[in-house]
């Protein structure tokens, strides 16, 4: 019977390392942010009742009726509010993969693997453009 051998490449180990740490931090941030939000430990930009009273509307109509609700990067202008803090923690989850891909890109670069260095940074570029709202309908 063969003993288990790990065949993961260096780049995979590097990606896994940053992914594990970033995800653990993300889960902690999401939970903490939500506690601050729903228990109203900080003032809110929009009362919870107002959000719940309009969550049956289309997103565009919702923001028309509830103008202060977080959307895109607008949350950082009011980062001291409880609901914005919770929103920022969700935004963080959208950044984790980008961080991992940047690390993978540099490992591929060090290994002189041209194809996957290009693929990694091209993938980061697509996600950054989406995050910046350039290709994702942001304002």
């Amino acid at each position: 019977m063969k003993q288990e051998t790990v065949h993961a490449e260096k780049v995979q180990i590097a990606y896994a390392g940053i992914l594990a740490k970033a995800t653990t931090l993300g889960i902690a941030l999401v939970v903490l942010g939500y506690i601050v939000y729903v228990f109203q430990l900080l003032p809110l930009s929009v009362p919870i009742d107002q959000v719940a009273g309009n969550w049956h509307l289309r997103a565009s109509e919702f923001h028309h009726k509830v103008p202060g609700a977080p959307s895109g990067w607008s949350c950082f202008s009011q980062a001291g509010k409880g609901d914005m803090l919770s929103y920022i923690s969700i935004i963080y989850l959208g950044i984790v993969t980008m961080m991992c891909l940047v690390v993978a890109g540099f490992v591929f670069l060090r290994e002189k693997n041209v194809i996957y260095t290009l693929f990694s940074f091209a993938q980061v570029a697509v996600l950054v453009l989406a995050a910046a709202g350039i290709v994702s309908g942001g304002h």
């Binding site: 939500y34 729903v38 959000v51 895109g72």
Partner: protein, 315 residues
């Protein structure tokens, strides 16, 4: 034996009937008037519901995202825009949590994932933009048809643990897509390579578009394409699917964030409930009859798909 068979056939039927009838008593999403139930009742209910969904999803061997969107949009008063935005984060959080050990063990292959996700992530952005621009009824109809299609795939697909392929194609050689992993079942190393890479690229473009449009995690499509079309071993397909999903869903999630279709009040209990449920489900995996649960899930999906389709027709 006989009793077991009756239970296995009866349970999905009873659940399906309940699911079909209950949303008529609860508030259906989309255009429904604001209700008077306290917000925390819905939020707590959502947490409990997604927790149960997480347990069922992992036992049935499906991603939580594909169950979340059709079922939550049937049972809860949230608009389908918010349900789709949250669905992407539910799938993303699950993929991020599962990812690290799969890479360390060499089961997931980053080169295979990156090759497919680059084009898939672009199409998922396009899908999300289209999905948020289309009228609600059209989305409901398309979602219903997609979910019914997924039900058929789940019912019919017979994955192959170790597909035999002839020669790897030229593109997969250029892209260095091959690997080796230790198979705990066979107790030996398994070498693998893939074929039909160009076909895979076309299919992942379509999958990305649909994932973005409906806010579904796309494991239901990624795995059969990796396994049955490209010829990757099942374990490699399942593990690599997690990474394609994390990249494609991240791209589409930004569209939903920028369009304001993610509400922390809904997203956080969903993500937390699903992640907790998935962990419990993984522990229960060896103790429950997975075939019965899988049948229940397929039935639930079929009914949720049918309901979405009827909603699309205004029925």
């Amino acid at each position: 034996m006989g009793l077991k068979n009756v239970r296995a056939r009866l349970l999905p039927g009873v659940l399906a009937t309940l699911l079909f009838l209950m949303p008529r008593l609860a508030l259906a999403s989309g255009g429904a008037p604001a209700d008077t139930t306290a917000w925390w009742v819905w939020v707590l209910g959502l947490f409990v519901f997604t927790f149960l969904l997480g347990i069922v999803a992992v036992i049935a061997g499906v991603g939580g995202g594909v169950l979340y969107v059709p079922i939550v949009s049937s049972f809860f008063p949230f608009h389908i825009d918010f349900v789709r935005g949250t669905g992407l984060f539910v799938a993303l959080a699950g993929a991020l949590s599962a990812g690290s050990p799969l890479l360390r063990k060499g089961l997931a292959n980053l080169k295979l994932a990156l090759s497919m996700s680059l084009i898939g992530s672009m199409s998922s952005i396009a899908g999300a933009l289209v999905g948020l621009a289309l009228p609600e009824k059209t989305i409901q109809m398309a979602l219903g048809l997609t979910i019914l299609g997924i039900t058929v795939i789940m019912f019919l697909a017979k994955n192959s643990a170790y597909p035999q392929i002839g020669q790897p194609d030229a593109l997969s050689k250029v892209l260095q897509i091959y690997g080796i992993y230790y198979d705990e079942h066979l107790k030996k190393d398994v070498d693998w390579q893939i074929h039909r890479t160009p076909v895979g690229l076309v299919l992942f473009t379509l999958i990305g578009f649909m994932a973005g449009m409906f806010g579904l995690g796309a494991g239901w499509a990624n795995v059969p394409v990796f396994n049955l079309v490209l010829g990757a071993p099942l374990r490699v397909s399942v593990a690599t699917s997690v990474f394609v999903l994390s990249i494609n869903d991240t791209a589409a999630a930004w569209v939903y964030l920028h369009k304001g279709a993610v509400l922390p009040l809904i997203a956080v209990p969903s993500v937390a409930g699903m992640m907790l449920g998935t962990k419990i489900g993984a522990k229960l995996l060896t103790k429950v009859h997975t075939n019965v649960v899988r049948r229940v899930v397929i039935t639930l999906l079929a009914v949720a798909g049918l309901r979405a389709l009827l909603k699309g027709f205004g029925i």
